[in-house]
Symmetry: C2
Subunit: 285 residues, 2 copies
Amino acid sequence: MLAFTGSRLDRADNDRADPERLAGYMNWRARLLALDGLMPGMDQAGALAWGTLADAPEDAELVFLGLDGGKPCFACVPAAGDAAPRLANPAVWQAMASLTPDDLAIYGGARSIVDWHARHRFCAQCGGTTRIAKGGWQRECNQCAASHFPRTDPVAIMLVEYDGRLMLGRGKGWPEGRFSALAGFVEPGESIEEGVAREVLEESGVKVRDVTYIASQPWPFPSQLMIGCHGYADDDALVVDETELAEIRWFTREEVAASLAGDGPFAAPPAQAIAHHLLTWWRDR
Amino acid sequence: MLAFTGSRLDRADNDRADPERLAGYMNWRARLLALDGLMPGMDQAGALAWGTLADAPEDAELVFLGLDGGKPCFACVPAAGDAAPRLANPAVWQAMASLTPDDLAIYGGARSIVDWHARHRFCAQCGGTTRIAKGGWQRECNQCAASHFPRTDPVAIMLVEYDGRLMLGRGKGWPEGRFSALAGFVEPGESIEEGVAREVLEESGVKVRDVTYIASQPWPFPSQLMIGCHGYADDDALVVDETELAEIRWFTREEVAASLAGDGPFAAPPAQAIAHHLLTWWRDR
């Protein structure tokens, strides 16, 4: 199973829009996810720590995460969002490594949405202040009444294959030897498949065809939907986009397998990343 | 080919971030997409109309759409965005019907992005004013320097099958007899497949399994990425979510085929919608 998927919470979507039912959930049985800013609070066993609503500041904005075996679960919007939201930081990775898959999914979803609230306290349409609504699945402008919804950004991440070898790239600023699948945001006006073809052409100069979907994963830094794809190239001649990438190389199946096993020509992406899953899929194909 | 895909423009992504190259594109050869607010301007042949940059107001915010056979193409951000951005309006549908697929793709992409700019003149983080950047593929806050990026919202739209019959729903407020695939936004913290399962359970009470991806389409009202999927149900007992749907029914392959041909028990979705494509895929499966 992919990291950040498989949350045990029932989002109880319909209850969010029902103020009475939502108010009813804010009771003594409700659990509040322990967060230090955006970092997960952990108990002594290394699981996510939970408190009660009494732990929240009086003026706190509370997000309804869902029901856990009937128990309402909330998280508190922190004072500030992630200052560099596109990057995961080492402390988060360390915490992530100790969480069970189930806890990781709950933390990831909660982090994305409370971070969104922290960075959307004003209305993009008129500049007015906004307030939380529908249990945290909406914000409303106090001035122009515009509604705003949590954001999820689709990102295409792709394995491109030519003659039995796989194209992997090393991003600018990455350590020597670390390689992963190319990726980029799907833009307004394009399908997933068109996004894949554009990104690959832009970053590598390679034309890609026969794009297929493999798997998807939510990625909470800050809130991407990673859409994993595979495609074929007709040529292996590279024109590397040096504004984004340090290098691109083609790797054989044996090299990919060895690297996934920790003993190959490149450092593979971490197990939590969909890129790892995609490489494993390709190795076993 | 799905409507709104297949644009002939080269987005020339790398040039957006290069102020010199971008300034060089703003020349006498550049073309300006004719828009009346968000409505497409059309020439006498029913094609998209284009002018020159001289047609833009002096203080216009210009979005670089890409290169058309080397010619730089721009669109102007209108005074106001779509007031009801989730709904296409009849005048747009009429205009859409006369455009070639290629023109429709250019219009759809341009509409999404200029509408986003028109509704994002302020910084969601601090309330300050923002200015256009990177040829319209970014906005920057004049106050806190936050960067903002055009938004694309992933929506799962799904065919759910049980015992050779397909689940289709009629939305609240839709005319009698009009049915389509269920759909809903993929939320932070879930994969596409999890979004499909949650939406189906929430709207129909039906558990879905073995979800597979079929196709995707950009939808410019205002800027969705429609992700078409298929899944199987283990049961056909329905618990309809009456806050969102007027009714749900199960249709046989023959009924779907007849309805797509205009002579069946329900009015099928229009050819431009991915739902139409999905139904056709299922009919021919």
